[in-house]
Symmetry: C2
Subunit: 309 residues, 2 copies
Protein backbone atom coordinates (compact mmCIF):
# COMPACT_ATOMS: atom_id res chain seq x y z
CA UNK A 1 0.00 0.00 0.00
CA UNK A 2 1.42 3.34 -0.98
CA UNK A 3 2.16 6.01 1.58
CA UNK A 4 -0.01 9.11 1.39
CA UNK A 5 1.56 12.55 1.39
CA UNK A 6 -0.84 15.31 2.42
CA UNK A 7 -0.43 18.87 1.25
CA UNK A 8 -2.46 22.10 1.18
CA UNK A 9 -2.43 24.90 -1.36
CA UNK A 10 0.37 27.22 -2.43
CA UNK A 11 0.79 30.24 -0.14
CA UNK A 12 -0.47 28.18 2.80
CA UNK A 13 -2.91 29.69 5.27
CA UNK A 14 -3.62 28.29 8.71
CA UNK A 15 -6.60 26.15 7.60
CA UNK A 16 -4.58 24.42 4.88
CA UNK A 17 -1.68 23.64 7.21
CA UNK A 18 -3.59 22.47 10.30
CA UNK A 19 -6.04 20.42 8.23
CA UNK A 20 -3.09 18.65 6.57
CA UNK A 21 -1.65 17.75 9.97
CA UNK A 22 -5.08 16.64 11.25
CA UNK A 23 -5.70 14.61 8.08
CA UNK A 24 -2.54 12.65 8.92
CA UNK A 25 -4.18 11.52 12.17
CA UNK A 26 -7.40 10.79 10.23
CA UNK A 27 -5.62 8.57 7.71
CA UNK A 28 -3.75 6.71 10.41
CA UNK A 29 -6.41 6.42 13.13
CA UNK A 30 -9.55 6.09 11.01
CA UNK A 31 -8.39 4.51 7.75
CA UNK A 32 -5.27 2.72 9.00
CA UNK A 33 -3.10 4.20 6.26
CA UNK A 34 0.42 5.54 6.55
CA UNK A 35 0.61 9.24 5.74
CA UNK A 36 2.68 12.38 6.21
CA UNK A 37 1.74 16.07 6.14
CA UNK A 38 3.84 18.57 4.19
CA UNK A 39 3.46 22.28 3.64
CA UNK A 40 3.42 24.00 0.25
CA UNK A 41 5.37 27.13 1.13
CA UNK A 42 6.42 29.57 3.83
CA UNK A 43 4.04 29.77 6.79
CA UNK A 44 2.45 33.05 7.86
CA UNK A 45 3.00 34.46 11.36
CA UNK A 46 -0.42 33.26 12.54
CA UNK A 47 0.22 29.65 11.56
CA UNK A 48 3.73 29.81 13.05
CA UNK A 49 2.27 31.14 16.32
CA UNK A 50 -0.30 28.31 16.50
CA UNK A 51 2.16 25.50 15.82
CA UNK A 52 4.64 26.97 18.31
CA UNK A 53 1.98 27.48 20.98
CA UNK A 54 0.63 23.94 20.55
CA UNK A 55 4.16 22.54 20.36
CA UNK A 56 3.53 20.96 16.97
CA UNK A 57 6.44 20.51 14.60
CA UNK A 58 6.26 22.55 11.38
CA UNK A 59 5.64 20.12 8.50
CA UNK A 60 8.48 19.78 6.03
CA UNK A 61 8.31 21.74 2.83
CA UNK A 62 6.95 19.62 -0.04
CA UNK A 63 9.59 19.02 -2.67
CA UNK A 64 8.66 15.99 -4.72
CA UNK A 65 6.59 12.86 -4.56
CA UNK A 66 8.22 9.43 -4.68
CA UNK A 67 7.12 6.58 -6.93
CA UNK A 68 5.63 4.60 -4.06
CA UNK A 69 3.63 7.58 -2.73
CA UNK A 70 0.23 8.99 -3.57
CA UNK A 71 -1.17 12.37 -2.55
CA UNK A 72 -4.08 13.84 -0.64
CA UNK A 73 -4.70 17.52 -1.34
CA UNK A 74 -6.61 19.55 1.24
CA UNK A 75 -8.29 22.97 1.15
CA UNK A 76 -8.00 23.36 -2.64
CA UNK A 77 -8.58 21.53 -5.88
CA UNK A 78 -7.95 24.23 -8.52
CA UNK A 79 -4.86 23.35 -10.59
CA UNK A 80 -3.26 26.80 -10.22
CA UNK A 81 -3.23 26.31 -6.43
CA UNK A 82 -1.61 22.88 -6.43
CA UNK A 83 1.99 22.88 -5.22
CA UNK A 84 4.63 22.71 -7.95
CA UNK A 85 6.07 19.24 -8.49
CA UNK A 86 2.90 17.37 -7.60
CA UNK A 87 1.89 15.21 -10.54
CA UNK A 88 -1.96 15.29 -10.81
CA UNK A 89 -2.02 11.59 -11.61
CA UNK A 90 -0.72 10.94 -8.07
CA UNK A 91 -3.64 12.66 -6.35
CA UNK A 92 -5.98 10.08 -4.82
CA UNK A 93 -7.80 12.15 -2.21
CA UNK A 94 -9.33 15.63 -2.15
CA UNK A 95 -10.78 17.12 1.05
CA UNK A 96 -11.99 20.65 0.41
CA UNK A 97 -14.64 23.33 0.84
CA UNK A 98 -14.13 25.30 -2.41
CA UNK A 99 -15.84 25.09 -5.78
CA UNK A 100 -14.74 22.22 -8.02
CA UNK A 101 -12.29 22.95 -10.79
CA UNK A 102 -10.18 19.92 -11.59
CA UNK A 103 -10.05 17.17 -14.17
CA UNK A 104 -8.75 13.80 -12.99
CA UNK A 105 -7.88 10.94 -15.31
CA UNK A 106 -9.31 8.31 -12.98
CA UNK A 107 -11.90 8.14 -10.20
CA UNK A 108 -10.43 9.22 -6.85
CA UNK A 109 -11.74 9.83 -3.31
CA UNK A 110 -13.35 13.25 -3.12
CA UNK A 111 -15.10 14.83 -0.20
CA UNK A 112 -16.08 18.44 -0.73
CA UNK A 113 -18.72 20.32 1.25
CA UNK A 114 -20.02 23.88 1.44
CA UNK A 115 -18.71 24.41 4.98
CA UNK A 116 -16.63 27.20 6.55
CA UNK A 117 -13.24 25.51 6.57
CA UNK A 118 -11.45 22.32 5.65
CA UNK A 119 -10.71 21.97 9.37
CA UNK A 120 -14.48 21.72 9.98
CA UNK A 121 -14.77 19.04 7.29
CA UNK A 122 -11.94 16.96 8.79
CA UNK A 123 -13.51 17.30 12.25
CA UNK A 124 -16.86 16.16 10.80
CA UNK A 125 -15.21 13.15 9.18
CA UNK A 126 -13.70 12.11 12.53
CA UNK A 127 -17.00 12.48 14.42
CA UNK A 128 -18.98 10.67 11.67
CA UNK A 129 -16.79 7.64 12.16
CA UNK A 130 -17.32 7.86 15.91
CA UNK A 131 -13.62 8.49 16.46
CA UNK A 132 -12.36 11.30 18.68
CA UNK A 133 -9.44 13.36 17.44
CA UNK A 134 -6.58 13.68 19.93
CA UNK A 135 -6.37 16.78 22.13
CA UNK A 136 -3.68 18.40 20.00
CA UNK A 137 -5.51 17.62 16.74
CA UNK A 138 -8.69 19.09 18.22
CA UNK A 139 -6.77 22.26 19.08
CA UNK A 140 -5.32 22.42 15.59
CA UNK A 141 -8.72 21.96 13.94
CA UNK A 142 -10.25 24.56 16.22
CA UNK A 143 -7.48 27.00 15.26
CA UNK A 144 -8.18 26.34 11.58
CA UNK A 145 -11.89 27.07 12.09
CA UNK A 146 -11.26 30.28 14.08
CA UNK A 147 -8.72 31.44 11.52
CA UNK A 148 -10.62 30.69 8.31
CA UNK A 149 -13.91 32.14 9.60
CA UNK A 150 -12.26 35.08 11.41
CA UNK A 151 -13.67 34.00 14.77
CA UNK A 152 -17.07 33.29 13.15
CA UNK A 153 -17.47 36.82 11.77
CA UNK A 154 -17.00 35.71 8.15
CA UNK A 155 -20.11 35.11 5.98
CA UNK A 156 -18.65 31.69 5.16
CA UNK A 157 -19.62 30.54 8.67
CA UNK A 158 -22.42 27.92 8.93
CA UNK A 159 -24.29 26.57 11.98
CA UNK A 160 -22.49 23.31 11.42
CA UNK A 161 -19.11 25.04 11.84
CA UNK A 162 -20.16 26.48 15.21
CA UNK A 163 -21.39 23.07 16.40
CA UNK A 164 -18.22 21.33 15.26
CA UNK A 165 -16.11 23.99 17.01
CA UNK A 166 -18.03 23.44 20.27
CA UNK A 167 -17.62 19.69 19.93
CA UNK A 168 -13.89 20.08 19.29
CA UNK A 169 -13.52 22.37 22.28
CA UNK A 170 -14.97 19.70 24.57
CA UNK A 171 -11.68 17.94 23.82
CA UNK A 172 -9.39 20.94 23.21
CA UNK A 173 -10.57 22.99 26.21
CA UNK A 174 -9.14 26.24 24.81
CA UNK A 175 -10.12 29.67 26.06
CA UNK A 176 -11.28 30.56 22.55
CA UNK A 177 -11.45 34.34 22.99
CA UNK A 178 -7.99 34.56 24.50
CA UNK A 179 -6.58 32.21 21.89
CA UNK A 180 -8.14 34.06 18.99
CA UNK A 181 -6.83 37.42 20.26
CA UNK A 182 -3.30 36.03 20.33
CA UNK A 183 -3.76 34.42 16.91
CA UNK A 184 -4.92 37.66 15.35
CA UNK A 185 -2.13 39.60 16.98
CA UNK A 186 0.35 37.18 15.40
CA UNK A 187 -1.50 37.42 12.06
CA UNK A 188 -1.19 41.21 12.14
CA UNK A 189 2.49 41.21 12.90
CA UNK A 190 4.68 42.34 10.05
CA UNK A 191 7.76 41.00 11.80
CA UNK A 192 10.13 39.30 9.41
CA UNK A 193 7.75 39.92 6.52
CA UNK A 194 8.96 41.59 3.33
CA UNK A 195 6.58 43.51 1.05
CA UNK A 196 6.66 40.56 -1.38
CA UNK A 197 5.53 38.31 1.47
CA UNK A 198 2.73 40.70 2.46
CA UNK A 199 1.18 40.44 -0.97
CA UNK A 200 1.78 36.72 -1.54
CA UNK A 201 1.37 35.02 1.83
CA UNK A 202 -2.35 34.60 1.22
CA UNK A 203 -2.45 34.92 -2.53
CA UNK A 204 -4.34 32.92 -5.14
CA UNK A 205 -4.83 33.10 -8.89
CA UNK A 206 -8.20 32.34 -10.41
CA UNK A 207 -9.42 31.56 -13.90
CA UNK A 208 -12.50 33.71 -14.42
CA UNK A 209 -14.07 33.32 -17.85
CA UNK A 210 -11.07 33.67 -20.17
CA UNK A 211 -9.21 35.96 -17.74
CA UNK A 212 -6.55 35.24 -15.16
CA UNK A 213 -6.93 37.15 -11.94
CA UNK A 214 -4.55 37.34 -8.99
CA UNK A 215 -5.95 38.27 -5.57
CA UNK A 216 -3.85 38.70 -2.45
CA UNK A 217 -5.30 39.17 1.02
CA UNK A 218 -3.86 40.53 4.22
CA UNK A 219 -5.97 40.03 7.33
CA UNK A 220 -5.03 42.29 10.19
CA UNK A 221 -6.25 43.93 13.35
CA UNK A 222 -4.06 46.91 12.40
CA UNK A 223 -4.79 47.93 8.78
CA UNK A 224 -2.73 51.11 9.22
CA UNK A 225 0.42 49.05 9.68
CA UNK A 226 -0.08 47.80 6.13
CA UNK A 227 -1.50 50.95 4.55
CA UNK A 228 1.55 53.02 5.44
CA UNK A 229 3.48 50.79 3.04
CA UNK A 230 0.97 51.46 0.26
CA UNK A 231 3.41 52.72 -2.34
CA UNK A 232 5.76 49.80 -1.96
CA UNK A 233 2.80 47.41 -2.10
CA UNK A 234 1.51 48.93 -5.34
CA UNK A 235 4.95 48.58 -6.91
CA UNK A 236 5.20 44.94 -5.83
CA UNK A 237 1.69 44.17 -7.13
CA UNK A 238 2.46 45.71 -10.53
CA UNK A 239 5.64 43.69 -10.78
CA UNK A 240 3.86 40.46 -9.91
CA UNK A 241 1.03 41.16 -12.34
CA UNK A 242 3.49 41.62 -15.20
CA UNK A 243 5.59 38.64 -14.21
CA UNK A 244 2.62 36.29 -14.11
CA UNK A 245 1.05 37.82 -17.19
CA UNK A 246 -2.28 38.39 -15.40
CA UNK A 247 -5.29 40.29 -16.72
CA UNK A 248 -6.17 41.70 -13.29
CA UNK A 249 -4.46 41.95 -9.93
CA UNK A 250 -6.17 42.89 -6.66
CA UNK A 251 -5.07 43.10 -3.05
CA UNK A 252 -7.41 43.17 -0.05
CA UNK A 253 -6.44 44.56 3.34
CA UNK A 254 -9.07 43.07 5.63
CA UNK A 255 -9.69 44.69 9.01
CA UNK A 256 -10.78 41.65 11.02
CA UNK A 257 -11.93 43.71 14.01
CA UNK A 258 -14.06 46.21 12.07
CA UNK A 259 -15.12 43.68 9.44
CA UNK A 260 -14.14 45.88 6.50
CA UNK A 261 -11.84 45.65 3.51
CA UNK A 262 -9.72 48.09 1.56
CA UNK A 263 -9.26 46.94 -1.99
CA UNK A 264 -6.02 48.10 -3.62
CA UNK A 265 -6.68 49.21 -7.21
CA UNK A 266 -3.47 49.08 -9.17
CA UNK A 267 -4.59 50.33 -12.60
CA UNK A 268 -7.34 51.36 -15.00
CA UNK A 269 -8.45 47.81 -15.85
CA UNK A 270 -8.88 46.97 -12.14
CA UNK A 271 -10.60 50.32 -11.47
CA UNK A 272 -13.16 49.81 -14.23
CA UNK A 273 -13.90 46.21 -13.20
CA UNK A 274 -14.12 46.90 -9.46
CA UNK A 275 -16.33 49.96 -9.88
CA UNK A 276 -18.68 47.98 -12.13
CA UNK A 277 -18.85 44.98 -9.82
CA UNK A 278 -18.90 46.64 -6.40
CA UNK A 279 -20.68 49.88 -7.34
CA UNK A 280 -18.18 52.05 -5.42
CA UNK A 281 -15.65 54.60 -6.51
CA UNK A 282 -11.96 54.17 -5.90
CA UNK A 283 -10.23 57.06 -4.16
CA UNK A 284 -6.46 57.38 -4.21
CA UNK A 285 -6.34 53.87 -5.70
CA UNK A 286 -8.19 52.40 -2.69
CA UNK A 287 -11.79 51.20 -2.58
CA UNK A 288 -13.43 50.76 0.83
CA UNK A 289 -15.82 47.82 1.00
CA UNK A 290 -17.81 47.82 4.27
CA UNK A 291 -18.70 44.34 5.54
CA UNK A 292 -16.42 42.59 3.06
CA UNK A 293 -14.00 40.12 4.70
CA UNK A 294 -14.18 37.00 2.53
CA UNK A 295 -12.38 36.69 -0.80
CA UNK A 296 -14.18 33.41 -1.45
CA UNK A 297 -17.73 34.60 -0.82
CA UNK A 298 -17.62 38.34 -1.39
CA UNK A 299 -15.01 38.94 -4.06
CA UNK A 300 -14.35 35.90 -6.26
CA UNK A 301 -17.96 34.95 -7.23
CA UNK A 302 -18.81 38.59 -8.03
CA UNK A 303 -15.75 39.08 -10.24
CA UNK A 304 -16.23 35.65 -11.84
CA UNK A 305 -19.82 36.45 -12.74
CA UNK A 306 -18.83 39.70 -14.44
CA UNK A 307 -15.85 38.20 -16.28
CA UNK A 308 -17.83 35.16 -17.45
CA UNK A 309 -20.41 37.33 -19.27
CA UNK B 1 -35.56 24.62 2.18
CA UNK B 2 -35.52 23.80 -1.51
CA UNK B 3 -36.64 20.44 -2.82
CA UNK B 4 -33.92 18.27 -4.35
CA UNK B 5 -34.41 16.69 -7.74
CA UNK B 6 -32.13 13.70 -8.37
CA UNK B 7 -31.07 12.67 -11.84
CA UNK B 8 -28.50 10.38 -13.46
CA UNK B 9 -26.67 10.79 -16.76
CA UNK B 10 -28.02 10.98 -20.30
CA UNK B 11 -28.67 7.57 -21.86
CA UNK B 12 -29.42 6.14 -18.43
CA UNK B 13 -28.08 2.75 -17.43
CA UNK B 14 -29.37 0.67 -14.54
CA UNK B 15 -26.85 2.03 -11.99
CA UNK B 16 -27.79 5.65 -12.72
CA UNK B 17 -31.51 4.98 -12.43
CA UNK B 18 -31.56 2.78 -9.32
CA UNK B 19 -29.04 4.96 -7.50
CA UNK B 20 -31.26 8.00 -8.17
CA UNK B 21 -34.25 6.21 -6.65
CA UNK B 22 -32.17 5.00 -3.70
CA UNK B 23 -30.71 8.49 -3.19
CA UNK B 24 -34.28 9.73 -2.73
CA UNK B 25 -34.62 7.43 0.30
CA UNK B 26 -31.17 8.57 1.49
CA UNK B 27 -32.10 12.26 1.34
CA UNK B 28 -35.40 11.68 3.11
CA UNK B 29 -34.43 9.05 5.69
CA UNK B 30 -30.86 10.13 6.46
CA UNK B 31 -30.78 13.87 5.77
CA UNK B 32 -34.48 14.68 6.29
CA UNK B 33 -34.69 16.53 2.96
CA UNK B 34 -37.51 16.39 0.46
CA UNK B 35 -36.38 14.95 -2.87
CA UNK B 36 -37.59 13.27 -6.04
CA UNK B 37 -35.82 11.00 -8.54
CA UNK B 38 -36.14 11.61 -12.27
CA UNK B 39 -34.63 9.82 -15.25
CA UNK B 40 -32.64 11.47 -18.01
CA UNK B 41 -33.96 9.48 -20.98
CA UNK B 42 -35.45 6.22 -22.18
CA UNK B 43 -34.69 3.20 -19.99
CA UNK B 44 -33.01 0.09 -21.38
CA UNK B 45 -34.71 -3.30 -21.22
CA UNK B 46 -32.61 -4.40 -18.24
CA UNK B 47 -33.63 -1.40 -16.13
CA UNK B 48 -37.27 -1.79 -17.18
CA UNK B 49 -37.16 -5.47 -16.17
CA UNK B 50 -35.73 -4.62 -12.73
CA UNK B 51 -38.24 -1.88 -11.93
CA UNK B 52 -41.13 -4.05 -13.13
CA UNK B 53 -39.92 -7.09 -11.18
CA UNK B 54 -39.45 -5.06 -7.99
CA UNK B 55 -42.74 -3.22 -8.56
CA UNK B 56 -41.04 0.18 -8.49
CA UNK B 57 -42.58 2.99 -10.50
CA UNK B 58 -40.47 4.30 -13.40
CA UNK B 59 -39.23 7.80 -12.45
CA UNK B 60 -40.66 10.62 -14.53
CA UNK B 61 -38.56 11.97 -17.37
CA UNK B 62 -36.62 15.08 -16.33
CA UNK B 63 -37.85 18.14 -18.19
CA UNK B 64 -36.88 21.22 -16.26
CA UNK B 65 -35.95 22.41 -12.81
CA UNK B 66 -38.15 24.85 -10.93
CA UNK B 67 -36.89 27.98 -9.18
CA UNK B 68 -37.40 26.49 -5.70
CA UNK B 69 -35.55 23.27 -6.56
CA UNK B 70 -31.90 22.28 -6.48
CA UNK B 71 -30.32 19.21 -8.05
CA UNK B 72 -28.34 16.15 -7.07
CA UNK B 73 -26.58 14.43 -9.96
CA UNK B 74 -25.61 10.79 -9.57
CA UNK B 75 -23.27 8.46 -11.50
CA UNK B 76 -21.74 11.27 -13.59
CA UNK B 77 -20.20 14.73 -13.29
CA UNK B 78 -18.87 15.42 -16.81
CA UNK B 79 -20.81 18.28 -18.42
CA UNK B 80 -21.49 16.41 -21.68
CA UNK B 81 -23.34 13.75 -19.69
CA UNK B 82 -25.59 16.09 -17.73
CA UNK B 83 -29.23 16.05 -18.84
CA UNK B 84 -30.31 18.95 -21.09
CA UNK B 85 -32.14 21.69 -19.26
CA UNK B 86 -30.29 21.29 -15.98
CA UNK B 87 -28.61 24.58 -15.08
CA UNK B 88 -25.19 23.78 -13.52
CA UNK B 89 -25.70 26.50 -10.95
CA UNK B 90 -28.56 24.45 -9.51
CA UNK B 91 -26.41 21.40 -8.79
CA UNK B 92 -25.76 21.10 -5.06
CA UNK B 93 -24.85 17.42 -4.72
CA UNK B 94 -22.72 15.01 -6.72
CA UNK B 95 -22.55 11.29 -5.86
CA UNK B 96 -20.35 9.47 -8.35
CA UNK B 97 -17.61 6.95 -9.05
CA UNK B 98 -16.12 8.48 -12.20
CA UNK B 99 -13.16 10.81 -12.72
CA UNK B 100 -13.81 14.47 -11.95
CA UNK B 101 -14.43 16.83 -14.82
CA UNK B 102 -16.64 19.71 -13.74
CA UNK B 103 -16.27 23.34 -12.77
CA UNK B 104 -18.76 24.68 -10.22
CA UNK B 105 -19.16 28.34 -9.36
CA UNK B 106 -19.65 27.68 -5.66
CA UNK B 107 -18.72 24.95 -3.18
CA UNK B 108 -21.24 22.08 -3.25
CA UNK B 109 -21.56 18.63 -1.61
CA UNK B 110 -19.42 16.14 -3.48
CA UNK B 111 -18.85 12.52 -2.65
CA UNK B 112 -16.89 10.61 -5.25
CA UNK B 113 -15.05 7.33 -4.67
CA UNK B 114 -13.14 4.84 -6.81
CA UNK B 115 -15.72 2.09 -6.29
CA UNK B 116 -17.53 -0.23 -8.71
CA UNK B 117 -20.87 1.57 -8.93
CA UNK B 118 -22.77 4.56 -7.64
CA UNK B 119 -25.17 2.02 -6.10
CA UNK B 120 -22.28 0.75 -3.94
CA UNK B 121 -21.49 4.32 -2.86
CA UNK B 122 -25.11 5.05 -1.88
CA UNK B 123 -25.24 1.75 0.05
CA UNK B 124 -22.00 2.70 1.83
CA UNK B 125 -23.43 6.12 2.74
CA UNK B 126 -26.50 4.47 4.32
CA UNK B 127 -24.44 1.98 6.33
CA UNK B 128 -21.94 4.66 7.46
CA UNK B 129 -24.79 6.56 9.03
CA UNK B 130 -25.98 3.35 10.74
CA UNK B 131 -29.24 3.48 8.79
CA UNK B 132 -30.63 0.46 6.99
CA UNK B 133 -32.04 0.96 3.51
CA UNK B 134 -35.55 -0.47 3.03
CA UNK B 135 -35.94 -3.91 1.47
CA UNK B 136 -36.89 -2.51 -1.94
CA UNK B 137 -34.04 0.04 -1.90
CA UNK B 138 -31.61 -2.75 -0.95
CA UNK B 139 -32.86 -4.77 -3.93
CA UNK B 140 -32.48 -1.77 -6.23
CA UNK B 141 -28.93 -1.06 -5.03
CA UNK B 142 -27.99 -4.71 -5.38
CA UNK B 143 -29.35 -4.67 -8.97
CA UNK B 144 -27.25 -1.58 -9.70
CA UNK B 145 -24.13 -3.31 -8.38
CA UNK B 146 -24.76 -6.56 -10.31
CA UNK B 147 -25.50 -4.59 -13.48
CA UNK B 148 -22.59 -2.13 -13.40
CA UNK B 149 -20.03 -4.75 -12.48
CA UNK B 150 -21.51 -7.46 -14.73
CA UNK B 151 -22.09 -9.82 -11.83
CA UNK B 152 -18.61 -8.97 -10.43
CA UNK B 153 -16.76 -10.02 -13.60
CA UNK B 154 -15.82 -6.43 -14.49
CA UNK B 155 -12.32 -5.16 -13.56
CA UNK B 156 -14.07 -2.20 -11.89
CA UNK B 157 -15.08 -4.54 -9.03
CA UNK B 158 -13.46 -3.95 -5.63
CA UNK B 159 -13.58 -6.01 -2.43
CA UNK B 160 -15.68 -3.25 -0.93
CA UNK B 161 -18.34 -3.74 -3.63
CA UNK B 162 -18.60 -7.45 -2.83
CA UNK B 163 -18.93 -6.74 0.90
CA UNK B 164 -21.57 -4.05 0.34
CA UNK B 165 -23.51 -6.43 -1.94
CA UNK B 166 -23.47 -9.14 0.74
CA UNK B 167 -24.61 -6.64 3.35
CA UNK B 168 -27.42 -5.42 1.08
CA UNK B 169 -28.50 -9.00 0.42
CA UNK B 170 -28.96 -9.61 4.13
CA UNK B 171 -31.89 -7.21 3.69
CA UNK B 172 -32.81 -7.86 0.05
CA UNK B 173 -32.64 -11.69 0.27
CA UNK B 174 -32.44 -12.12 -3.51
CA UNK B 175 -31.31 -15.30 -5.22
CA UNK B 176 -28.50 -13.33 -6.89
CA UNK B 177 -27.61 -15.89 -9.58
CA UNK B 178 -31.20 -16.35 -10.67
CA UNK B 179 -31.83 -12.61 -10.60
CA UNK B 180 -28.71 -11.79 -12.58
CA UNK B 181 -29.56 -14.38 -15.25
CA UNK B 182 -32.96 -12.78 -15.74
CA UNK B 183 -31.44 -9.27 -15.73
CA UNK B 184 -28.90 -10.20 -18.41
CA UNK B 185 -31.57 -11.91 -20.49
CA UNK B 186 -33.58 -8.68 -20.40
CA UNK B 187 -30.43 -6.66 -21.17
CA UNK B 188 -29.76 -8.82 -24.26
CA UNK B 189 -33.27 -8.52 -25.60
CA UNK B 190 -33.56 -6.37 -28.71
CA UNK B 191 -37.33 -6.23 -28.33
CA UNK B 192 -38.70 -2.80 -29.10
CA UNK B 193 -35.19 -1.46 -29.76
CA UNK B 194 -34.34 0.36 -32.96
CA UNK B 195 -30.79 0.47 -34.35
CA UNK B 196 -30.51 4.07 -33.11
CA UNK B 197 -31.40 2.85 -29.63
CA UNK B 198 -28.84 0.01 -29.81
CA UNK B 199 -26.02 2.48 -30.37
CA UNK B 200 -27.23 5.19 -27.98
CA UNK B 201 -28.83 3.43 -25.00
CA UNK B 202 -25.46 3.20 -23.27
CA UNK B 203 -23.58 5.94 -25.08
CA UNK B 204 -21.30 8.67 -23.77
CA UNK B 205 -19.13 11.36 -25.29
CA UNK B 206 -15.74 12.17 -23.81
CA UNK B 207 -13.31 15.03 -24.14
CA UNK B 208 -9.89 13.46 -24.65
CA UNK B 209 -7.10 15.99 -25.09
CA UNK B 210 -8.53 18.32 -27.72
CA UNK B 211 -10.64 15.58 -29.32
CA UNK B 212 -14.27 14.62 -28.86
CA UNK B 213 -14.93 10.91 -28.80
CA UNK B 214 -18.26 9.09 -28.77
CA UNK B 215 -18.38 5.54 -27.41
CA UNK B 216 -21.49 3.37 -27.36
CA UNK B 217 -21.71 0.02 -25.58
CA UNK B 218 -24.06 -2.91 -25.92
CA UNK B 219 -23.78 -5.57 -23.24
CA UNK B 220 -25.31 -8.86 -24.21
CA UNK B 221 -25.28 -12.57 -23.59
CA UNK B 222 -25.98 -13.00 -27.32
CA UNK B 223 -23.47 -10.91 -29.32
CA UNK B 224 -24.61 -12.57 -32.55
CA UNK B 225 -28.04 -10.99 -32.20
CA UNK B 226 -26.32 -7.61 -32.50
CA UNK B 227 -23.59 -8.52 -34.98
CA UNK B 228 -26.08 -9.66 -37.62
CA UNK B 229 -27.22 -6.03 -37.78
CA UNK B 230 -23.64 -4.85 -38.35
CA UNK B 231 -24.22 -2.94 -41.57
CA UNK B 232 -27.14 -0.98 -40.18
CA UNK B 233 -25.14 -0.23 -37.03
CA UNK B 234 -22.18 1.12 -39.02
CA UNK B 235 -24.50 3.38 -40.98
CA UNK B 236 -26.11 4.69 -37.78
CA UNK B 237 -22.71 5.28 -36.15
CA UNK B 238 -21.46 7.23 -39.17
CA UNK B 239 -24.56 9.38 -39.15
CA UNK B 240 -24.25 10.10 -35.44
CA UNK B 241 -20.54 10.89 -35.73
CA UNK B 242 -21.25 13.47 -38.46
CA UNK B 243 -24.24 14.92 -36.66
CA UNK B 244 -22.32 15.46 -33.42
CA UNK B 245 -19.20 16.59 -35.21
CA UNK B 246 -17.03 14.05 -33.38
CA UNK B 247 -13.39 13.25 -34.05
CA UNK B 248 -13.81 9.56 -33.28
CA UNK B 249 -16.75 7.20 -32.80
CA UNK B 250 -16.54 3.69 -31.36
CA UNK B 251 -19.05 1.02 -30.49
CA UNK B 252 -18.40 -1.94 -28.19
CA UNK B 253 -20.42 -5.16 -28.27
CA UNK B 254 -19.58 -6.76 -24.94
CA UNK B 255 -20.18 -10.46 -24.48
CA UNK B 256 -20.92 -10.57 -20.75
CA UNK B 257 -20.76 -14.37 -20.54
CA UNK B 258 -17.45 -14.81 -22.38
CA UNK B 259 -15.98 -11.55 -21.05
CA UNK B 260 -14.92 -10.26 -24.46
CA UNK B 261 -15.62 -7.25 -26.60
CA UNK B 262 -15.94 -6.59 -30.29
CA UNK B 263 -15.01 -3.04 -31.14
CA UNK B 264 -16.75 -1.61 -34.21
CA UNK B 265 -14.26 0.39 -36.30
CA UNK B 266 -16.15 2.79 -38.50
CA UNK B 267 -13.34 4.49 -40.46
CA UNK B 268 -9.64 5.07 -41.01
CA UNK B 269 -9.20 7.49 -38.10
CA UNK B 270 -10.71 4.99 -35.67
CA UNK B 271 -8.71 2.13 -37.20
CA UNK B 272 -5.41 3.92 -36.83
CA UNK B 273 -6.14 5.01 -33.24
CA UNK B 274 -7.47 1.63 -32.09
CA UNK B 275 -4.62 -0.35 -33.63
CA UNK B 276 -2.09 1.97 -32.00
CA UNK B 277 -3.74 1.84 -28.58
CA UNK B 278 -4.85 -1.80 -28.39
CA UNK B 279 -2.09 -3.35 -30.50
CA UNK B 280 -4.53 -5.48 -32.51
CA UNK B 281 -5.56 -5.46 -36.13
CA UNK B 282 -9.11 -4.77 -37.20
CA UNK B 283 -10.66 -7.37 -39.53
CA UNK B 284 -13.77 -6.58 -41.49
CA UNK B 285 -14.07 -3.39 -39.43
CA UNK B 286 -14.23 -5.35 -36.17
CA UNK B 287 -11.50 -5.63 -33.56
CA UNK B 288 -11.75 -8.46 -31.03
CA UNK B 289 -10.52 -7.51 -27.55
CA UNK B 290 -10.30 -10.55 -25.26
CA UNK B 291 -10.99 -9.78 -21.61
CA UNK B 292 -12.26 -6.27 -22.32
CA UNK B 293 -15.69 -5.55 -20.79
CA UNK B 294 -15.34 -2.10 -19.20
CA UNK B 295 -15.45 1.13 -21.20
CA UNK B 296 -14.44 3.07 -18.10
CA UNK B 297 -11.38 1.01 -17.14
CA UNK B 298 -10.27 -0.68 -20.35
CA UNK B 299 -11.12 1.74 -23.16
CA UNK B 300 -11.49 5.36 -22.02
CA UNK B 301 -8.19 5.77 -20.06
CA UNK B 302 -6.19 4.10 -22.84
CA UNK B 303 -7.68 6.32 -25.57
CA UNK B 304 -7.40 9.40 -23.36
CA UNK B 305 -3.71 8.77 -22.73
CA UNK B 306 -2.98 8.49 -26.44
CA UNK B 307 -5.07 11.53 -27.42
CA UNK B 308 -3.61 13.68 -24.65
CA UNK B 309 -0.04 13.23 -25.95
Amino acid sequence: MSKIIIVGHKNPDTDSVVSSIAAQEYFEKVLGKESKAYCAGMLNNETKFILEKLEVEIPKLFEKIEDDECAAIVDHNQPSQIVDGLDYGKIEYIFDHHNLNIVTEKPIFVRVEPIGSTSSLIAKMFFEKGITPSEVTSKLLLSGILSDMLNFTSPTTTDEDRKLADKLNEIAKLDMQEFVTEMFKAKSSLEGISIEDVITLDYKTFEMGSKNVGIGTWETTLPESVNIKKDEIFAALEKKKALENLDYMFFMVVDILQGNCQLYIIGDAEKELAEKVFGKEAENKLMTLPGVVSRKKQIVPQLTEELSK
